[in-house]
């Protein structure tokens, strides 16, 4: 690459970084700015960084509860989506089930439904089932929304595993489910990790359903909880910022530790290895 090209590339990457990171940096700065300076809308950079907002939200009992709720809802949905998604993906990729193409087409179509279109029917269904304000409702709804993605990714992954391995496992004495558990699943671990991460982050960040299907700290998740932080005279920007920073950390940690696997996962089936 020519020096000019390298310069252009660096410039482009910096622009993208700035674009993506700027809101987060602003959030971070806000979270350590003393309340007086926030009210005055003075400088962007705090004169003396403070942890007062963090202390405030951590002292209030609900914050830990919100964290826990988010974690339970996201991991529950991830687990459910992985179990159902990998079974469906396996069947679509390796069993000669009739209607495979039609099923995948329906799966893709479903994933295009805007969440807002389904909020009110889901609200009614959840209420009718007596599941309003429960984490179980959130888990089911999130898993349902993440399933098309999970099915699609896992189908691509299982397609990448040679047919002969499935046939070999069957001939070597496994039932279809046995072959799935003992041969197919261990070989699809990168796909499982990628799918899990995507579903987890989706559920962790989800706001709309969490807002409409929860009513109290019994099931309220972090994004909704932060939005509802009580302010006396005005919006508690400092605490909201601090809460957002804390809520972002787990997702960032997960993404960093599994980023290689996610990349492998997202490009699965794109190029023949």
């Amino acid at each position: 690459m020519t020096p000019l090209g390298r310069f252009g590339l660096g410039l482009g990457l910096s622009a993208v970084m700035l674009w993506s990171l700027a809101p987060f940096v602003w959030q971070l700065l806000t979270s350590v700015t003393p309340p007086a300076e926030l009210e005055a809308h003075s400088a962007l950079f705090p004169s003396a960084p403070t942890l007062v907002h963090y202390r405030a939200i951590l002292a209030g009992q609900p914050f830990g509860r919100l964290m826990l709720n988010s974690f339970v809802a996201a991991s529950g949905a991830t687990l459910l989506a992985l179990v159902l998604g990998s079974l469906a993906g396996f069947a679509l990729a390796k069993l000669h089930a009739p209607g495979r193409v039609a099923t995948l087409a329906v799966v893709v179509t479903l994933s295009m439904l805007p969440p807002i279109a389904t909020v009110s029917p889901l609200f009614l269904i959840v209420n009718a089932l007596g599941m309003h304000d429960t984490l179980a409702a959130l888990i089911l709804v999130y898993a349902g929304f993440a399933l098309p993605l999970a099915v699609w990714l896992m189908t691509q992954f299982f397609r990448g595993v040679p047919d002969e391995l499935y046939i070999a496992a069957r001939v070597d004495g496994c039932s279809a489910i046995g072959a799935f558990m003992r041969v197919m699943l261990p070989l699809a671990v990168p796909g499982l990790v990628a799918t899990a991460l995507l579903v987890f982050i989706y559920a962790w960040n989800e706001f709309l359903y969490a807002l409409s299907l929860t009513a109290s700290t019994a099931s309220r998740t972090m994004p909704v909880g932060i939005a509802l932080f009580p302010g006396i005279h005005e919006v508690p920007w400092g605490e909201i910022a601090a809460g957002s920073v804390l809520a972002t950390i787990p997702a960032v940690l997960l993404a960093i530790s599994f980023q290689r696997r996610v990349l492998e996962g997202l490009t699965a089936g794109a190029v023949k290895a």
Binding site: E164, L165, I167, A168, V171, D172, G173, S175, G178, L187
Partner: protein, 347 residues
């Protein structure tokens, strides 16, 4: 151990017919080979024996037992694949032990058996290696071992040598023959390589478009091909096929033709049965040499042009050059006659 029978089996994938009303009996302990061009559905026949694919109609029997509806894990067959199909996440020991563990054999007993089989196949030092750390030949030995370890009723092999280089192919081919001679397990083997088929099989079925063209011992398939397709497919170099009219004047051909109409006959002559001389001979076909093709033990002479193009063996001691005149001789026994329209054998 069991015999395997196809009873009026048909199999279609959409419009493609890979087995067309196929009936066949493979004897207990026999080494049976399906030979056919790539993509003619040979593997599907194995899959139907294994139970991973169901026939569209007809049934598959082991001895007298109808196994058509039996799932693979209850058929007790073992399979070796062209791509080896070793489990990439397991080491050699666990690959070998896999079929035993599925049958509830204890971990320790399975490991001991795996070690025993590995030693017999010359894999003793590789037990804790993963498949990706092995060479092609070693992988196929492990695959053989995995199939052998549980003494299956039927042994299925799907082009097991096609991914190996030439030297290794001969080595593993001998290994397969040795394994069959030792254990006498009914073996059904699929290949597109006629040389492999002739070297290994007790009986060969030549397949085309889902139908058996000929099913016989390798000797018979070579000596008396049932039709033009088999004649061309079996034997290297392939048989010369010449319109009857072009050779009708030759005494050896005339003797075989008898009352047949030469214009409705295709004459087949194996290159091995033709001898090309430099000196003139009585009853020789004389034509210009196009190519000389040395092949170690033999030297092949391609002479003539168009429909009279013949490949022949260079006679011992003879010297021929391109554009020289070759005198090709053969006996009446070397002549095969086929129907020009339908391709079937005429004598």
């Amino acid at each position: 151990m069991a015999s395997v029978a196809f009873d009026r089996v048909s199999k279609r994938f959409g419009p493609a017919l890979v087995a067309d009303d196929l009936s066949l009996e493979i004897a207990d302990g026999e080494f049976f080979i399906f030979l056919g061009p790539s993509g003619c559905g040979k593997s599907t026949l194995l899959h139907m024996i294994a139970g991973v694919e169901a026939p569209s109609s007809g049934c598959v029997r082991f001895d007298a037992r109808d196994v058509t509806a039996l799932p693979p894990q209850r058929r007790d067959v073992a399979m070796v694949f062209q791509s080896y199909a070793l489990y990439p996440h397991l080491d050699v020991t666990d690959n070998l032990a896999f079929p035993l563990r599925n049958r509830g054999v204890s971990r320790r007993a399975a490991r001991e058996e795996a070690e025993r089989v590995a030693t017999a196949l010359g894999l003793a030092g590789l037990l804790d290696k993963k498949p990706r750390q092995l060479s092609g030949g070693q992988r196929q030995r492990v695959a053989l071992g995995r199939a052998l370890i549980r003494h299956p009723t039927v042994f299925l092999m799907d082009e097991p040598l096609s991914n190996l280089d030439a030297a290794l192919r001969i080595e593993i081919r001998e290994e397969i023959k040795r394994v069959h001679q030792t254990h006498r397990i009914t073996t059904v083997y699929v290949t597109h390589d006629q040389e492999e088929a002739l070297a290994l099989a007790d009986r060969v079925a030549v397949l085309r478009d889902g139908r058996i063209q000929q099913c016989d011992t390798p000797g018979q398939v070579y000596a008396r091909p049932a039709n033009i397709f088999v004649a061309r497919f079996v034997g290297t170099p392939p048989m010369n096929l010449v319109p009857g009219t072009a050779l009708a004047h030759h005494p050896a051909v005339r003797a075989r033709l008898g009352r047949l109409d030469a214009s409705r006959v295709v004459v087949g002559l194996r290159p091995h049965a033709l001898e090309a001389h430099a000196a003139a001979r009585p009853d020789a076909l004389t034509s210009e040499v196009a190519l000389i093709e040395p092949a170690g033990a033999e030297t092949w002479v391609v002479a003539g042009a168009n429909e009279m193009r013949l490949k022949a063996r260079l006679a011992p001691g003879a010297m021929l050059e391109p554009r020289a005149s070759a005198n090709i001789v053969f006996s009446a026994e070397a002549v095969h006659l086929f129907d020009a329209e339908h391709g079937h054998r005429l004598d």
